[in-house]
C-alpha cells in the first residue's frame, strides 16, 4: 500500500473505531443510569436531528459552522507545528469586531455584513498574530502566550462593550443586536431548511475549509508552513523565513477563529456578547474537532459536522430522563479513543500480513 494512503486509512479507521467505542460507552452510561429509557434515548442521540426533518438538519449545519472554523484554526496551526490554544480569545475578538461593524456600520448599506465578516477575520488575525510575533522574536511559548491572550481578549472585549453606550444593552447586560443588514444572508438555505437558524455562514465555512485545504496541500506557501511544522530547523536551513511563517500561521489560525466568532454573532439567531468573565467554549470545542479530524481540513469538516450532529442529538435526548452532558462524555471518550491509532495500525498490519501471506 502507498504510504500516504496507508496513513489516511489508519486515520480514518481509528476515527471510526473511536466513534464506535464512544457511542458504546455512552450507551452503557445510559443503561446504567436509566435502563428503561436507554434504548430509545440512545436511538435519539443517533437520529435526533433527522427525526426533526429538514429543520433538524439545518440546525446541525448551523451548530457546525463555528466549530468547523475553530477546528480549522487549531488544525491548521497544528499542521504548521503550533498548538493554537488561543481560539477562545481569537473567537471573541472576532465576534466583537463583527458586532461593532454590525451595530455602527449602518452607513455601509448592504455591504455591512461583508465588512463585518471581514472585520472579524482581521481582528482574529490580529489576536493570533501576537503570540506568533512573541514566539518568533522572543521565543515565548505559544501555548502560554495563547492562554494569556485568551484572558486579555475576554476582559478587554467585556471592558469595551460595557463601557460603550452604542454597543451595550444595559437592560440585558449584553451587546446590542446587530443591524438587519449586518446579518449574514440566508442564501436560500432557509428555503431548503425551513425554520432553522442556518445561514450563508455555512457556505463561508465550507469555503474556508476548501481554501485551507488548497493552501496546505497545493501551494508553495503551504509547503513551507508544513515543512516548518515538521522540522523548524530544516525549514530554516532551506531558506524559508521561519519567523515570518510562524507569524503568518498564527495570524491565519487567528483569522479562522475570528471568522468563527463573526459568523456566529452575525447569524441572526439572536446571539449577543454577554458581559461574563468566561472563555468562549466554541474555542475549546475547536481543539476536539481538530483532533478528531486529524487536523486535515476535510477531516475537520466531517468532525465538525459529526460533533454538531451528536450535540443536536443530545438536545433532543432531553425528551427522556437524561441530562445533555452525556454528549460531552461521549465526545470525550471518542477523542480519547481516537488516540489509540496504534491498535488500529497493528490490526491493519496484521490483516495485511495475513492477506499477503495467504497469497
Amino acid at each position: 500500500m502507498n504510504e500516504a494512503k496507508h496513513k489516511n486509512m489508519v486515520g480514518l479507521l481509528s476515527s471510526i473505531f473511536a466513534i464506535v467505542v464512544g457511542l458504546l460507552f455512552g450507551f452503557i452510561v445510559l443503561l446504567a443510569s436509566n435502563p428503561t429509557q436507554a434504548v430509545p434515548g440512545f436511538f435519539t442521540i443517533l437520529t435526533g436531528s433527522f427525526t426533526h426533518g429538514l429543520k433538524g438538519i439545518g440546525q446541525v449545519f448551523y451548530y457546525a459552522t463555528p466549530i468547523i472554523l475553530t477546528g480549522l484554526s487549531v488544525g491548521f496551526a497544528f499542521k504548521t507545528g503550533l498548538f493554537n490554544i488561543g481560539t477562545p480569545g481569537q473567537f471573541i475578538v472576532g465576534a466583537f469586531a463583527a458586532i461593532v461593524v454590525g451595530i455602527r456600520g449602518d452607513f455601509l448599506g448592504s455591504a455591512q455584513w461583508v465588512v463585518a465578516v471581514l472585520a472579524s477575520i482581521a481582528a482574529g488575525a490580529l489576536w493570533g498574530l501576537v503570540p506568533g510575533v512573541l514566539n518568533a522574536y522572543f521565543n515565548v511559548n505559544v501555548v502560554i502566550a495563547c492562554i494569556m491572550m485568551n484572558y486579555i481578549g475576554m476582559y478587554l472585549i467585556n471592558f469595551i462593550v460595557k463601557g460603550s453606550k452604542t454597543l451595550f444593552d444595559s437592560l440585558r447586560n449584553q451587546s446590542l443586536s446587530v443591524d438587519k443588514a449586518a446579518e449574514i444572508p440566508k442564501m436560500g438555505l432557509n428555503l431548503l431548511f425551513p425554520e432553522s437558524s442556518i445561514n450563508g455562514g455555512f457556505f463561508i465555512a465550507i469555503l474556508a475549509v476548501v481554501l485551507i485545504h488548497f493552501i496546505l496541500n497545493k501551494t508553495a506557501f503551504g509547503f513551507e508552513l508544513k515543512a516548518a511544522g515538521f522540522n523548524r530547523d530544516a525549514s530554516k536551513y532551506a531558506g524559508m523565513n521561519e519567523k515570518r511563517n510562524i507569524i503568518l500561521s498564527m495570524a491565519i489560525a487567528g483569522a479562522l477563529a475570528g471568522l468563527a466568532g463573526g459568523l456566529l454573532y452575525l447569524a441572526g439567531s439572536g446571539k449577543h456578547i454577554e458581559i461574563v468573565d468566561v472563555l468562549a467554549s466554541e474555542g475549546f470545542t475547536g481543539i476536539s474537532v481538530a483532533l478528531l479530524g486529524l487536523s486535515s481540513p476535510l477531516g475537520i469538516l466531517l468532525a465538525g459536522l459529526f460533533i454538531a450532529y451528536i450535540t443536536a442529538g443530545g438536545f433532543y435526548l432531553q425528551l427522556f430522563e437524561f441530562s445533555t452532558e452525556i454528549i460531552d462524555i461521549i465526545v470525550a471518550v471518542i477523542i480519547y479513543f481516537s488516540a489509540f491509532a496504534l491498535i488500529i495500525k497493528t490490526f491493519i498490519e496484521r490483516f495485511d500480513k495475513k492477506r499477503n501471506g495467504g497469497k
Binding site: S33, N34, Q37, Q59, Y63, N158, K162, K165, F168, S170, L171, R172, N173, S177, S197, A267, S269, G270, K271, H272, E274, I275, V276, D277, V278, T311, A312, F315, Y316, Q318, L319, E321, F322, S323, T324
Partner: protein, 373 residues
Amino acid sequence: SSNKTGESTSDSTTTETTDTKDAAADTATDKTAQGETSAEGYEIALITDIGTIDDKSFNQGAWEGVTQYAKENNKTYKYYQPAEKTTDAYAETIELAIEGGAGIIVCPGYLFEEAVFNEQDKNPDVKFILLDGEPHNADYSEYKTSENTMAILFQEDEPGFLAGYAAVKEGYTKLGFMGGMAVPAVKKYGYGFVQGAEYAANEMGLSSVEITYNYTGGFEATPEVQALAAAWYGAGTEVIFGCGGGVGNSVMAAAEANSKAVIGVDVDQSPESDTVITSAMKKLSVSVYDGIKSIYDNAFQGGKTTTFSAANNGIGLPMETSKFTTFTTADYDAIFAKLAAGEIEIKNDTTESDAKTAINALGLKIVKVDVVE
C-alpha cells in the same frame, strides 16, 4: 423529607420555613431532577436560561414552584436546556418541550421575551409563564402579551430596600453591595438596597453610612469574587449584600474567614452559611406555583403582567431565620406595611448603564456610595 440524599444535601433547603421548602427538598431527592415519566410526556415544562437548574436564582426558584405544584397534584413535569444562548435556541427548546407534551411552559428570565413573543401565537394551546419580562419583538418596537401568556415581574427594589433598611437599623454603617451581572433585576436590588439604607439612616438621624458598590460581572462563585469580598471586609465593611447566584457563595466564604455578615438574595440563604443574617427574597417559586395553579383552576390571568411586590406579599425578608439583634419583627412589619401601602417611593429606573451615574440619580444625602468598577 426523610429520603437519605435529601438529608445529606438538606443544608441548603430543609431548614427553610417558607413555602418553597418541600419543593426545594424534592429537587434534591428526585433522582434525575427531570420530573416524572408519563406516557404522554411531560405536562409542565421549564426552560432554563443562562444558568442551570440550581443557579440559586430564577431557574431554581421557578423550578421549585413547578416541582411543588406537580408533586402535590400528581402532574408530570420536566425541564429543558437550550443548546445555546440565542433567541432561536430558546424558541427551539420551547418547541421541543411542546413536542415532549408540555401544556404549560415556564420561562424564567427576560432572555425569553423574544422567544415567547414569537411562540405564544404559534402555540395558542400552550400556556406560557414568563418571569421577569414581558414579551416583545427583537427591536422592542412591539410588546404583546397574548391570552395564553402570563408575564410576571418582581419589584426587586423592594426586598433590596428592606435589606438595606434592616442592615442600617441593625446598626451597620459600613455596607457593601456585590451584584452579579448588571442585569435589571440585580440593579433594582442594588438601587433598593442603598435607598433602604438611606431611609433608615434618615430615620435614625445618622450622619454617615458608607456603601461600597460593585457588579462582579458573573453569577459564578469564583476566587476573584471571594478575594474582592475579603478585601472589602478587610477594609472595614461589616455586611455585604451578595446579590447574584454563586457570587453569594464566594461572599459567604470571605465572610466566614473574616467573621463578618452577609445578606442573601432571592431565597432564604441562611442554611448556606451562618454568616447570612437575612435574605432579600422575592417569592419566585410562589409566583410560579400560583401561576400553574391558576391554569389548572381555570383562573389563568393570561394576557396580563402581574407584578410581585410588597403589596401582594410577593417579596420580603425571612424574619424567622434572620439573625438580627436590634432590628425587630415589629420594625420589619412597620416598614413592610409602608411599602405595601405605597408610602415609600423607590427609584428603580434601570436604563442607565453607567453605575455611577445611576446611583447619583438616586439623590442620596446621608449614604455615601462608592461605586467600584
